[in-house]
Amino acid sequence: MLLRRIYQFLMIYLLGVLCLLVIKVAADLSDYVIPGIDALWLSVRDVGWRYVVDVLDTLRVAVIGQVLSIGMALFIGILGRQATWFGSFIKVAAYNVQAYPIVAIAPIIFILLGDGFVSRLLIAAMICYFPLLLSVVGIMSQPIPDVEHFYRQTGRMRWQLEVKIRSFENLSKLTTVIVGSATLAMAGTIVAEFIAASAGIGYSIRIALYQSDLAKILVALFMIGITLSIYQGILEWVGSAVKKVWAR
């Protein structure tokens, strides 16, 4: 599974680069517009190792951000699952925050929280939590009458139990979404770094962009992709392990 993910990523990446190279050759473009193989190779030698370190740094924040956003999504999803006034209020709030482009509220966040690690983490989590939230709200607001009936009748239904029942019945959907959201945690962290940080791969990408250095960007994309494939592979494995333990 993990290996498959990795070589599939390599295939996709190579395909993308190949496509760019074909355009380069066909339209006879300079290295500035689309870098050639040699320029790419030079960049790999130049910054490859540094980017690995940067990506790992980003991954570290992303992992924390993901945990945080799973927490946020569960929290809001559980609060917002009911069709009550309060439920809808929470949802309206959560949805609105998401609609604002992060760059627009970043200044406000920085004013409120300073511009340390916390702000960055929050930005990453805010980008990542939303898809999780949508799924969680969807799953949590759909009753499973055949299972819940007994507990309701006997007055045993607590919100914890309700959440547990609905999570369990939708376990595979939840794992899909959580594994997928790793992607967004990564993207979110990169965006946060892009806006505000002075470390991580997002920061390196920003510098490469300012220098119009597409070769470096391609190297960065490669590092991001391969790291993410591995991370998701691991998450998936953990997910299926959890499923096994819980369901048996």
Binding site: A27, L29, S30, D31, Y32, V33, P35, A39, V103, A106, P107, F110, I111, D115, I195, A196, A197, S198, Y203, R206, I207, A208, L209, Y210, Q211, S212, D213
Partner: protein
């Protein structure tokens, strides 16, 4: 004369006071009188005029010197037709009540905002090196879109474009009772070329008359735009696009733009300052922005 020739012109940034000459030429029909129909395309953060020249999406464009030198280092066939800014508008703003900066040596112990990877980083590093301030002597603070770190005092100096943001933010701060000042690197001998008009080598060699006509109209536009006699026309031209800036601010911005384009008794509008270009290349080389000499002088249009 045959029917109007259509060309497209990619600016470096959104249309504001830094593009006053471009919109002036367009609005006053200077292009038309050279038989040209010019599609004026605003630039933006993800836009790159030089790439578009190569891809054939644009015929002319505006790029900063560092972009040109980066592109040359990667083999892009770009040539410089004119240098719009004789002085680089990039300066550092600071609160007079908090810090006192007279010479680069005063940066010692300060926190200075720079955009890592952009030309302000190079300029600041050159300034510091020349003043003998060691890397450890200042804290460089990574600049982002918002000014919070500067406003809240986490950074002492912040880079701004003196003729646009500088005017706007300066006014706002002064209205709030703050006393501000700007630090100008050029006053301390660091000359880093800013916006210039570029085109592709092919267009220049294949259609020299087209290039001449375009350049004539454009420079005439800039010439008139900075002429105090045409102030109202120039303001109207910019205001047509830049609706977010009040007329009062625009007026001040135009005032601030004039000396950057043409100083009294200085060279003509569009003059290419070869020495400044060579200094720019040298600085970029020194700070590893390019890995080989590009001999930028050869890519500049001969007067």
């Amino acid at each position: 004369l045959s029917a109007d020739q259509a060309v497209s012109y990619r600016l470096k940034w959104l249309i504001n006071m830094s593009t006053v000459g471009d919109v002036y030429a367009e609005a006053q029909g200077l292009f038309a009188s050279e038989g040209l129909t010019v599609a004026l395309k605003p630039g933006g953060p993800e836009r790159d005029a030089i790439r578009e020249l190569e891809l054939g999406h644009a015929d002319f464009g505006v790029a900063s010197a560092d972009q040109v030198i980066h592109a040359l280092a990667k083999g892009s066939p770009v040539v410089v037709l004119a240098q719009l800014f004789q002085a680089n508008p990039l300066q550092w703003i600071y609160f007079k009540d908090r810090v006192q900066i007279d010479t680069p040596a005063d940066f010692k112990g300060k926190t200075v905002g720079v955009t890592f990877g952009k030309n302000d980083e190079i300029i600041m590093r050159t300034l510091l090196a020349r003043a003998g301030v060691p890397e450890s002597g200042v804290r460089l603070y990574s600049v982002r879109l918002d000014y919070t770190p500067f406003f809240s005092g986490r950074a002492d100096l912040w880079p701004v474009y003196i003729n646009s943001q500088g005017v706007e933010i300066g006014q706002r701060l002064e209205a709030a009772g703050e006393r501000i000042a700007f630090f100008n690197p050029e006053a301390h001998g660091v000359r880093f070329v800013a916006n210039s008009v570029v085109t592709s080598e092919r267009l220049k060699s294949e259609r020299p008359e087209l290039v001449e006509r375009f350049l004539r109209a454009l420079l005439a536009g800039w010439q008139s735009a900075v002429d105090p006699a045409n102030t109202e026309t120039a303001l109207a031209a910019v205001r047509q696009y830049d609706r977010d800036t009040t007329l009062e601010v625009l007026r001040a911005q135009l005032e601030a733009t004039r000396p950057l384009i043409q100083s009294p008794g200085g060279p003509a509008v569009g003059y290419i300052d070869i020495a400044a270009w060579e200094q720019t290349e040298a600085m970029m080389r020194q700070y590893g922005q390019i890995d080989r000499a590009v001999d930028v002088g050869r890519r500049l249009r001969k007067p």
